[in-house]
Subunit: 492 residues, 2 copies
């Protein structure tokens, strides 16, 4: 099996698909559009989960679990939300299979076992959760509710790609309930900030915080906050969203509370989520033609040790040193693996760890035994150096931080170079065609202009950046007044 | 809202249902048979997950994720497995909803969006996983595969009860692949032992390790190992199972490997799982008429501090002491919460923490401020004592261990008292009727006898204990030769 990847320059999309499979992150399954997340890919997702979960709990959120299914009558209660998701719903209609009388050994759906009401496999859980919150909320004393759920959801997308767009995906969805509009907006902003911090400080992915335009907003939301990242091919990727839902779901499910002053009012809501799509963002931000590049924070193994030996005695000596190194590194919370498989040669091991993005590789050979050294190779820069054993641990501790921040800086530089302010539509098209990336341009604020630009260029408004300022000017397309620049891009 | 529970003596089943809801563990949802796991209940489940996950990883297992759906043609591939689950399957037949032309604002299933092949919502994942393993396994070098998945599954049970039997439940399912029969059997035994250790040492629930009879075996397994626990009402509960699957799934999905000697053979398999059902076992092993009783290992808050005050100055002084106590306890890895809610009186807080099973409650009042003491109340024994502040932390550290082991001992004593050896069928019926619990009796090894005893008494063979010895005798029902005693009981 060749592990050599198509290069990014040759075919970015093919490079991505090959990398996901060859680095053992995920693969397509027998179910249309559904993926298998392989152990190595899942270990990275677990790192993301653990850190996000910590951040959620630190800000007062608790986890809970709500049903996989949404009865159709609840699903359709919030009309805009229902309309937004109806076209891509997996629907359970029966609850039993039976032997197929025409086909021995085969099963068929039992026509007698038709459900009275169809069940939608959740594409998102606002409906089932707000129907539940109705029973939890009577007075202001029951508020706020700050709940998160780790779950699988299903959206029957027609064109799917591993991690980026799959029929089933894993995510977390927060659903909060508040007394006031202001408190709910503050929550939606808080969670968007948490996502931004997580992306930048943990995943080393720079993001722009912004608001979605009406046409890109979550179905049922009053306002959608988002974080947008830029991939290496100049396309944008929405990495997380946080919605201020107003009282839309409270009204649809009749969820009222009695205030401190004894008045009845509908409850204010938010919801927010990130998904296994972040794996796609991770891959397309840092990786190279040799394979995955992982920031140390997300690496299941931060360091791998490969022994190079001719005799059992040499292996034994190397193993002793490897054990000492592992003890020292683990004491410093650096995760490390000794790859002493006898089924693979060192070259094959090097290739695999490179492909899988292990941040640092230590090789120990006979010469190192003589000299009290090891060879240390850095995945992100592909550089190697000989390091004396006695300075190895502090060196690696420093490198963990250096690699993490250097990957962030590299991605930030790329984004800066690929964010272009344009003032004419010709320039807009030219930059989009030849350079890609974010295009910062004035827009007149109408859905019509947004739609026309999309038709002509395939670029959409990724967000109205929160720090856009109030620089008034003219729309790049219509010349009508604009309140500030927005970010356009082609997007995943 | 009254928090007073029906007593166990009055109606055990009602007591259970009330406790689950009033202690905020779970509730029924709008979806038939599906539950909502509330934050407090979910926090307990998270403790179980974390410990099990640690034990799995320590023994070389990795997590992965496989699709929610199983195409019907894969589902039916292993016939016995399919037959076992076909009667309780949620089936997805369509992938889109549309506006209902006869009913404005309502949706209906789009008849044009019928799937070519129906998808079964996984009741268990052997089929989809073994279809995947086919692509992962070529040679002995690819073995063993030691994979676990945390997931939701759906079994359309007709009679459901919170945690004990729900249409959707959460679980982990391990699926391993091996070169030899011996290695697979060893794995199945290892995992059953891990479950037993977890139940006894972490959940404080004594269990019997055994084998299932053929009629109670997992559909598709060659042998099912299990751990069986005894609830306070004398009924047994299957707390975990580990299956040796032989080559059944490898043959159904044609998964062969080339051995070291160059021969082709089918792969050997195991699967093993525990579920949110363990929450039911936890509740019914330790709790009392006042509510939940939690072993410290499973308590989201191990200690709660309740201030009792008349003035803001008193509260301030108490808060200072509470902060000192919390600092000390957290340094010793004891989780502690200061319940300074102003919306509830101390009496209401006491009642809530009792109902929710917080192992230790500290109350601090004006008198304690004068004396440098606190009142310490133990949930399991309902005893209170006054403790000087300077000996509080070591005292609590000791109590954490003492409560954990004392709950285990209490449950073990109960089980010993309710495990009865009988040698006649009259005695069998008498014990079952008047005392309940495990009945240890000789059985002739036939499914017919097992079935007849079940018909006559509703008792089933819970397991053939692994340590049953070889004491040969006569079947308690037929008088035919028996190879050893087995455990009968009525069961959840």
């Amino acid at each position: 099996m060749s592990k050599k990847l198509t290069s990014r320059a040759e075919d970015y999309s093919k490079w991505y698909n090959e990398l996901v499979v060859k680095a053992d992150l995920a693969e397509n399954s027998a179910v249309r559009g559904c993926m298998v997340i392989k152990p190595y890919g899942y270990a990275i997702w677990e790192k993301m989960q653990a850190e996000l979960d910590r951040m959620f709990k630190e800000t007062g959120h608790q986890n809970a679990y709500f049903p996989l299914f949404v009865p159709k009558s609840l699903f359709e209660a919030e009309e805009k939300n229902a309309e937004g998701f109806a076209k891509e719903c997996a629907v359970v209609t029966h609850y039993r299979l039976q032997n197929d009388p025409d086909n021995e050994g085969k099963l068929r759906v039992d026509p007698e076992a038709k459900l009275e009401e169809e069940l939608v496999v959740r594409p998102t859980s606002e409906a089932i959760i707000w129907n539940t919150y109705k029973g939890w909320i009577q007075s202001y004393r029951d508020l706020p509710i700050l709940v998160n759920q780790w779950a699988n959801v299903v959206r029957w997308e027609m064109r799917t790609r591993l991690f980026l767009r799959t029929a089933e995906f894993l995510w977390q969805e927060g659903h909060t309930a508040h007394e006031t509009k202001e408190e709910a907006i503050k929550e939606a902003e808080l969670m968007n900030n948490i996502y931004a911090n997580f992306a930048e400080n943990f995943m080393a992915i720079p993001v722009v915080k912004g608001l979605k335009t009406e046409s890109e907003r979550f179905a049922g939301a009053v306002e959608t906050y988002c974080i947008e990242a830029l991939m290496q091919d100049g396309k944008a990727l929405q990495a997380g969203t946080s919605h201020f839902l107003g009282q839309n779901f409270a009204k649809a499910f009749d969820v009222k509370f009695t205030s401190k002053e004894g008045k009845q009012d509908y409850v204010w809501a938010t919801s927010w989520g990130v998904s296994t799509r972040l794996m796609g963002a991770l891959i397309m931000t840092h990786s190279d033609d040799h394979g995955l590049v992982l920031p140390p924070n997300l690496a299941p193994d931060q360091v791998v040790i490969v022994p190079i030996y001719r005799s059992d005695e040499q292996l034994e000596e190397i193993s002793k040193i490897a054990n000492l190194i592992m003890g020292d590194l683990r004491a410093k919370n650096v995760s490390v693996k000794f790859d002493d498989r006898t089924t693979h040669r060192p070259g094959a091991k090097f290739a695999q760890h490179e492909l899988q993005g292990v941040p640092l590789r230590i090789a120990i050979g006979p010469k190192d035994l003589e000299n009290g050294t090891v060879e240390l190779a850095r995945r992100d820069t592909l550089t190697k150096e000989i390091v004396p054993l006695d300075s190895l641990t502090p060196k690696i501790e420093n490198l963990m931080e250096e690699i993490q921040s250097s990957l962030y800086k590299k991605a930030l530089d790329y984004r800066s170079e690929h964010t272009t302010e344009v003032d004419t539509f010709d320039e807009f098209k030219e930059v989009l065609k030849n350079k890609g990336g974010f295009i910062s341009a004035h827009w007149d604020g109408t859905a019509e202009t947004e739609e026309k630009i999309k038709e002509l260029t395939k670029a959409t408004i990724r967000c109205i950046p929160l720090d856009t300022g109030n620089e008034e000017d003219k729309c790049v397309f219509t010349g009508a007044p604009s309140k500030g620049r927005v970010l356009f891009a082609k997007a995943y």
